[in-house]
């Protein structure tokens, strides 16, 4: 466990660029008018950037330092858990404490857009956390596959699904249904359950990909 936590520490420490960029965007982004976007939404940027560093920057270096693939795998998962908790905490904090101070009449926070706020602030925060966990693990798996043919195949399939499903109404319904389950979902139990299940399934896929990863 000591090795795993050392890897978590290193992964988070070498993710400075993501932290700084996210902080800059959160602090500096402005919008005007009666309806404005909450700056808290931009904290999600950290969830999008982090997997790039974990996969492309940290993996090789940790291997050369003598870490095992198993410890890297669990270290990355724990780091995603910590980050999703942190991001959710900050955005929820902004939603509760800073948004009421905005001069605009309406402040849009993704927690409201996704209908999570309907379940109370604690569950909303939890829903946000599991959703961000799912986003980070999905990105991690997708990025890890890019060195292999099946990574490119997955990219092609995803692009094909989006381009074919979007213009055809019945298929668009399926696509929107999927996003309503994993993201725009007011049913906290269903949402949390689906996100955790998908995260577990994707983690397993990530482990399979990691086992094939070369150096």
């Amino acid at each position: 466990m000591k090795a795993i936590f050392a890897i978590v520490k290193r992964l988070l420490a070498s993710n400075k660029i993501s932290f700084i960029l996210t902080a800059l965007v959160v602090l500096c982004a402005t919008s005007s008018g009666d309806v404005v976007l909450s700056n808290g939404n931009y904290t999600w940027l950290l969830a999008v950037m982090t997997p790039f560093f974990f996969v492309f920057y940290d993996y090789t270096k940790l291997m050369y330092l003598g870490a095992s693939k198993k410890d890297y795998f669990f270290g990355a998962l724990i780091s995603y858990g910590i980050l999703s908790f942190g991001i959710s905490l900050v955005n929820t904090g902004i939603h509760l404490l800073i948004e009421p101070l905005y001069p605009a009449r309406t402040v849009i926070n993704l927690m409201d857009v996704c209908k999570w706020s309907e379940n109370g602030i604690f569950l909303a925060g939890l829903q946000q956390m599991v959703f961000l966990l799912l986003v980070m693990i999905s990105l991690h798996v997708l990025l890890s596959m890019q060195a292999h043919w099946y990574g490119w195949l997955t990219d092609t399939i995803l692009v094909a699904i989006l381009s074919i499903f979007t213009p055809i109404a019945p298929l668009r319904g399926i696509l929107s249904g999927f996003f309503q389950v994993i993201m725009l979902n007011g049913n906290a139990v269903l949402h949390i359950g689906v996100c955790l299940l998908l995260s577990a399934a994707l983690s397993f896929a990530g482990l399979v990909v990691l086992k094939r990863k070369t150096l």
Partner: protein, 283 residues
């Protein structure tokens, strides 16, 4: 213990490793020699589980090694290994945290001996110093198998001598299998126990240095005398100039003859004759 059975590695149409059978069952310092492109790095990376082989099996301490092996028990470092751009001291500390078996005391001692500035960031080091950091990290890992790929690249003569001392000291402190791939043959001879020569993806030679010292020699003289003297011996190379010939032998030496000159082969000459090339051209 490292055990390779019928190991073949192909990159597209090119076969880099050809049906390699190799058993390294005793702790020791082994030197892996081979020309550029002989397959040394591929072999070492495959043993470390950093890449998959096309056919055959690799086992380390009874554990089958592939990229799927999550904990191989092998430490491998290549000369251009990239590390976190952190101060050297911190890098060694992190290595001790991510690897529970790491010998931090040895690493710190080596850092001092090689006058590595603990506060200097990795990217600011010279090529030789970078390689030294990688080598220290690998040797201090305390894994049962340590693979060093071209560890003396970029070292000056003094650093090379220090490196061979470090290798011996590390082995004495923690006996295990250490395989060193290098091109500087003569220098490492004092440090190693066994020699592995890889040529065009196949193992050409795997034996002790002592066997090279006792069995590798050259016989020079008139071509007909040399041919007569070597007809029942294992000839590994031959040079002919006019009516004179030199045969390179790896065999039990025969009785000396007045008309023939017999000289022991240096390790480098033995290697050149074993791989059967000179000046880049096949003989």
């Amino acid at each position: 213990m490292i055990e390779l059975k019928r190991v073949t590695k192909q990159y597209g149409q090119a076969t880099v490793l050809k049906h390699i059978d190799l058993v390294i069952d005793e702790p020791g310092i082994y030197c892996l020699l081979g020309r550029n492109g002989a397959g040394k790095t591929t072999l070492l990376k495959s043993i470390a589980g950093y890449q998959n082989i096309t056919n055959g099996t690799i086992q380390v301490d009874g554990k089958v090694i592939t990229t799927s092996t999550l904990d191989t028990g092998v430490s491998y470092i290549e000369n251009f290994a990239r590390h976190f751009n952190l101060p050297v001291g911190k890098l060694l500390k992190i290595a001790s945290e991510v690897n529970p078996n790491y010998d931090y005391e040895f690493a710190s001692e080596m850092m001092e001996r090689f006058e590595l500035d603990a506060k200097k960031k990795f990217n600011h080091l010279s090529l030789g110093m970078k390689t030294m950091v990688s080598t220290i990290l690998c040797l201090a890992s305390n894994k049962s198998v340590v693979l060093l790929d071209e560890p003396v690249l970029g070292f000056d003569a003094i650093m090379r001598v220090e490196f061979y001392d470090m290798l011996t000291e590390s082995f004495r402190k923690h006996p295990r299998i250490i395989v060193v791939s290098t091109h500087i043959i003569e220098e490492i001879a004092k440090t190693i126990q066994k020699l592995i020569i890889l040529d065009k993806g196949s193992i050409r030679f795997f034996d002790t240095l002592q066997s090279v010292e006792t069995k590798a020699f050259s016989i020079s003289g008139l071509q007909k005398d040399v041919e007569a003297a070597t007809q029942n011996l294992n000839v590994i190379g031959r040079d002919t100039v006019g009516g004179l010939a030199t045969c390179y032998i790896f065999d039990t030496p025969s009785a000396p003859s007045a008309s023939l000159e017999i000289h022991p082969l240096s390790l480098q000459d033995f290697f050149i004759q074993m791989v059967g090339h000179k000046g880049g051209a096949a003989r």
